[in-house]
Symmetry: D2
Amino acid sequence: MFIETIKTPGLAHLSYIVGSAGEAAVIDPRRDVGAYISIAKQHDCRIKYIFETHRNEDLISGAAILAKLTQAEVKHGPNADGKVQYADIVKQGERFKVGHICLEILETPGHTKDSISILLFDSEYDSGAVGVFSGDTLFVGDVGRTDFYPEQAAEMAGMLFDSLQLIADKAKHAIVYPAHGAGSVCGDGMAEREFSTVAHELSNNPMLQINKRDEFITNKLAEQHYRAPYFSVMEQLNLEGASATNAPRIVSPLKLIELQSQKHGWLIDVRPVEGFLAAHYPGSVCLPVAMLTAYAGWLFHPEDNITLIAQDDAMASAAALHLARIGFDNTQRYVVGSFTEFAAMGGDFTTLDTLTAAEVKELQQQDWQLLDVRKITEYQQRHIKGSQQLFLGHLATSLDQLDPETHYITMCASGMRASVAASYLRANGINNVKVFMGSLGAWLNASYPVEG
Amino acid sequence: MFIETIKTPGLAHLSYIVGSAGEAAVIDPRRDVGAYISIAKQHDCRIKYIFETHRNEDLISGAAILAKLTQAEVKHGPNADGKVQYADIVKQGERFKVGHICLEILETPGHTKDSISILLFDSEYDSGAVGVFSGDTLFVGDVGRTDFYPEQAAEMAGMLFDSLQLIADKAKHAIVYPAHGAGSVCGDGMAEREFSTVAHELSNNPMLQINKRDEFITNKLAEQHYRAPYFSVMEQLNLEGASATNAPRIVSPLKLIELQSQKHGWLIDVRPVEGFLAAHYPGSVCLPVAMLTAYAGWLFHPEDNITLIAQDDAMASAAALHLARIGFDNTQRYVVGSFTEFAAMGGDFTTLDTLTAAEVKELQQQDWQLLDVRKITEYQQRHIKGSQQLFLGHLATSLDQLDPETHYITMCASGMRASVAASYLRANGINNVKVFMGSLGAWLNASYPVEG
Amino acid sequence: MFIETIKTPGLAHLSYIVGSAGEAAVIDPRRDVGAYISIAKQHDCRIKYIFETHRNEDLISGAAILAKLTQAEVKHGPNADGKVQYADIVKQGERFKVGHICLEILETPGHTKDSISILLFDSEYDSGAVGVFSGDTLFVGDVGRTDFYPEQAAEMAGMLFDSLQLIADKAKHAIVYPAHGAGSVCGDGMAEREFSTVAHELSNNPMLQINKRDEFITNKLAEQHYRAPYFSVMEQLNLEGASATNAPRIVSPLKLIELQSQKHGWLIDVRPVEGFLAAHYPGSVCLPVAMLTAYAGWLFHPEDNITLIAQDDAMASAAALHLARIGFDNTQRYVVGSFTEFAAMGGDFTTLDTLTAAEVKELQQQDWQLLDVRKITEYQQRHIKGSQQLFLGHLATSLDQLDPETHYITMCASGMRASVAASYLRANGINNVKVFMGSLGAWLNASYPVEG
Amino acid sequence: MFIETIKTPGLAHLSYIVGSAGEAAVIDPRRDVGAYISIAKQHDCRIKYIFETHRNEDLISGAAILAKLTQAEVKHGPNADGKVQYADIVKQGERFKVGHICLEILETPGHTKDSISILLFDSEYDSGAVGVFSGDTLFVGDVGRTDFYPEQAAEMAGMLFDSLQLIADKAKHAIVYPAHGAGSVCGDGMAEREFSTVAHELSNNPMLQINKRDEFITNKLAEQHYRAPYFSVMEQLNLEGASATNAPRIVSPLKLIELQSQKHGWLIDVRPVEGFLAAHYPGSVCLPVAMLTAYAGWLFHPEDNITLIAQDDAMASAAALHLARIGFDNTQRYVVGSFTEFAAMGGDFTTLDTLTAAEVKELQQQDWQLLDVRKITEYQQRHIKGSQQLFLGHLATSLDQLDPETHYITMCASGMRASVAASYLRANGINNVKVFMGSLGAWLNASYPVEG
């Protein structure tokens, strides 16, 4: 009897494969399903079932692809907003055998209406569940967000409260296997730690310390979450079942020089931030690999044509895979190499200036505007006086709130998101932008004052 | 914050690495320590501490080697029978920080006098331990054996009872991380499943259903365990700290033909049982890779010279590694290839005859003696009338109980151990031996009667 | 500028990828094309061209699949027997640029009418070709067979003579990159060595020592080659362009017991020969992985349903891949495990008896018939008096030459092919068969007399 | 019979392993010898001999280490300047059997006095050598340098002429296997291509077109080569036989902040050049991984303490390995991470300004001094008027030729070496430095005038 966790970095997505005696089940597979097949093979198991804890809004499900490759049956909870074409509907109490494992469905709506949790029993030690796949209902250190149906916000929050009670009742002594870890857009307060028990959460998870339903609802309603525009695209694709992806084709740096005279959609530079600051293709947007899945869905549309600019083929492939996981399939070209060599070939490049804390303090006196692109919750906690808050994810829809004549200094917690924001502004015609390296961290280390 | 389990097949040994914020700790490392170093690197962590839950008797500890390679400190519980030369002694309540993880020592004697368990706290969610490394004190589905000090058997069993109470008190809601899984010689009743919580064990583990100390002791004293002769060698080596190992050198099949005229220690044939039955080197002992760590320590001595006979280099390397893990370092030569080709080169080979259930039934009438090499506990449960029980592990010291003139049919549950036994008997001059293929399984499937 | 050789074991097939400055070309790709794509990526190259030196008869070409995945153009020589649907026709002297490499077509018919060779020039050091992809025209130590058009045998042999002259003229100082190495059915006398130069071949290759066209033709006409029935299927598939393959599904040993009552096509046991001899599924045919591509095309038909019996998943996967490379796609099930355990589950098994040289000598006196399944050329060289020659590949079509009442001893050079033959005979109702372990090798080592 | 090439990037070093029938030989192993052992294992071969074509001056030989691990014998040519302690001396005509391969020694002094070449014969096709390991005597497109004994320069060049004649005589039809490819410091004019034949070189290699001994010597004497100071250290180490290497230990970015107040030897930043330009640790030297082996030996001493600054662990490990290959073993610490985060932790950073061609043109009018750090041969071919040439490798010993008060613009062919030079100058107190991005390439693409 084995259980393995498959983590998808960037999305902080956790999926699972469990198996026993030649059979296996996969919970919440991602789009690139090779890992599940390979683990099943190592354990000489056949994948018999695929479970989706809910219809994902932040990534493409691999259930349809995996089912096609393995002849497994896909199981999905009731009450999805539309018909999940590739799955059977399962209800409270249904049980599925996987070798000596027994999986039992709990209906746990709240995050979405179709959310389920899945209890894991060992049929030879069956007094109580030993594990629970809790989807986006219960995380380590947090619970699911309940803001996806704005008109039914209180109702959904109440449902989640009830669902959490149900899990506490049915699986108090179980290990928790959630669908996301720290860094996900599906919750703010998750622990860095990815292992816990229901009982440990009952003592430690801040949201589980709230015992009154009303108070819980009030708390949930007060939460501020961002919802990326690509979520609705994901939801639609996850009704239909996604297909496998294509690899991007290589174009040479010289070809990139040719592209300079044409319009070819977005140029996304996935190198480390520092490389972008020193030299980049004019008009390109800085978005390092590790940040792609978090922000591409905000700044670009899955249908957009995208040209990736990467240091080497491995980096470009990783970037294309990250994008495919969230439904961006039009990444047909990329460019490999250094800008030093690009410059030697006669290519145009530009730089993006950075500032230290002391320089920022100085420029603030000279009417440069600090633009803080962190989330509103981060800003409220602590910020530099005089700074304007505008969440990085909202830039695409809020450009009209910015003045092309103003001189901006972008900042965030460290300078990473600030660099992305600055590059995006420049790609959209707001040219007087510099980046605050170290951002709030450097400001605080310099012992300069903050408010909030 | 991560935790990864490193399983060592054969020994059913489980070791762990946990880490957070650039630091890591390893619990109960095996001798081949590359895996720990490589996982630490993936997480950009430095190994800061190595913990041993007790002095191992069934495998070589890698603590001294890993400490040398990483400058980590080794921590070992008090009351070991001798000085663990490479480790510091830790006591109840001592705490160690590993990034945001806090590890706290519980003294849990019983299996051995120096047994400790280690509580894992997340310093940011610290109401109760979230994990416990329970060594050989608590397993999934069983508890540690307490027969290592025969004169203090009741006392040790009582200590174990108290230690389990302590774990239940201090870590009820924690995930259990034991030092062994199913298949280990360190316990008989372990679950196939390798994940559980303390609370789930309290409801399901048969030994934890016994609430009275006296009754628990009585139960433990009634247990029948085998103790391999190599255990005492392991214990001695694990006081001193083992060194790294050498790779065996290749010799060709032709060289093996030359060996036929000389005496070169043991020839161990690690191919699948069926290959051995069809053709093997006269005088060689059948012991497939997967059974090596379980039986080599019984049938051979760590100082013996061993020549491995394997299908290919990968199999020979795996076998040599398995042997090194239990302290067998004199495996300097091996031979690769098929016996078909060996025969074509003029090499001598022999076969070992197999019998079906019907043939066994027939031969039993003709005074062939069934020799059942399963454990006494298995035999007591169910056996064929007229069969003689002699545990495979005891063959080396019990050859005088067998009669070279008798015709033996070896049997076990399936025929695997029976093949090993038959080959070992023939290597020791008891030549009239055949193997019962399918053994008790085949007998039962043929609906023949059993007793016990 | 790089060149890498991709070897396909079993088929002894050699394919190549060459590249320079971001571009690459592939010569004679096999069906599983992942290796070419991965090497191209490592070198940051785009595959621009795919060349086929001729229409393959012994393996499925991957050209159509690779072209689809990479948008590369496929180039094929003129005069194929039918239209190669996925390729452009190229003629003598056409040149293709791949970075700083220049590839030039030589028409070299003889082995087939559409055979070409491809000269490789370095455009910066272009006095003479530095390499030549010689397909099945010139091998290391041999030349291509010319028996595929029986009515034009002399004409084809003459063409080959001229083609070899052409290569000697145009590429005397080049390295030779042939399409096959030792062990291929496409030539008998190939060297074990896979690297050579045209000039070295001119001095060493026995066929290139024949300077007169007539004499060369006479020699070629005297050659005896076997032609597997699947060759014609391959040729047809290689006109159309093959598709990618499916992975076989796992069935458990228990399922295999069920199969015993039904008819499910062929059961092929791909374990090492020795495992088969000791215990196998009644009616199954022994054909170890390493021999699959050499004999499956003779004994079975690509349309046949095949159930593989393997030791583990890795072995089964390798076997399915080998079969797919020669067009066998109906291998949908396989079984993993040991026959010891199969017997314990109540499964039926049988053994296949082996004989030593001395035993064979003895049985020959008692009217057992030696059946030598080596090639006629091997037999003519040396054989045991009284033995009957019947090539293993011909068994499927020559069963009527054997007498079900006769007692046969199968033999070959070592016992490998003899085991395959014995199992095939028994699967076809000829039951009195034993295998001569070591075969001719053991006979000679015993200093028994041979003739021939 | 197999041959595999092991390339060492950075050093452009080529080593080889050949094998046949269970035996193998390695030619010119590098210090990290795992690759040879692993290839030998794949082919089920024992490494029997190790050959050194000469005592290496540009890398640490792995011969002593590999011999210790495999019990192979090491063979080295006569006339080394000192006793190679771990090797036997071999002479012209000595032959060594490796399975069916025969290796024969040719004494080919010229590059060094102890240089040998090794002919490869296939004992079954032995009319002429089929391969020649030509060491640093004959390369693809070039021949070895002969300037290591300045007082005997003409004599050495003459010896090389004779040695090349010998190779042409003995191995005209052989494939050439040289010890270096393009990019090595051991020759300037090597082809990008790494495969050739002696005959093809006779027609294409520029140096082999010179038929008169005197003319050849004159040509060699006119060559301008640089000799890194670490060469003499290598030569000494390669007499004694090097040991294996240690892995560097990780220090955190915070630890690096602490280091700022102390002196800890060199800080080498191995990230891509662009990352360094945007932000780096004050006082650190830019030397990307790919340039390490080419320049570390010039700028630093093998005994120096080195702290590596890398993007991640993989990059740091690669850098430490590159350094170990050329004898730098004191790289005990490194730092992983981005400078954005380093700045957020309060760490100090600095930038290095870049210039475009137009900006350079402008600044030249304002008395900024162009410093061209290419080799003198590159400079002589074409350079910008008014620029000062000083080879990057000579900076360490020529700092006194530069004026701390002058404003320098560093340049090279693309900007890579220019960045290294600028960082090195600043680390040595010459602070007014900017880097010409694109350097001569960008200048030419802008159609600005050059001379030379």
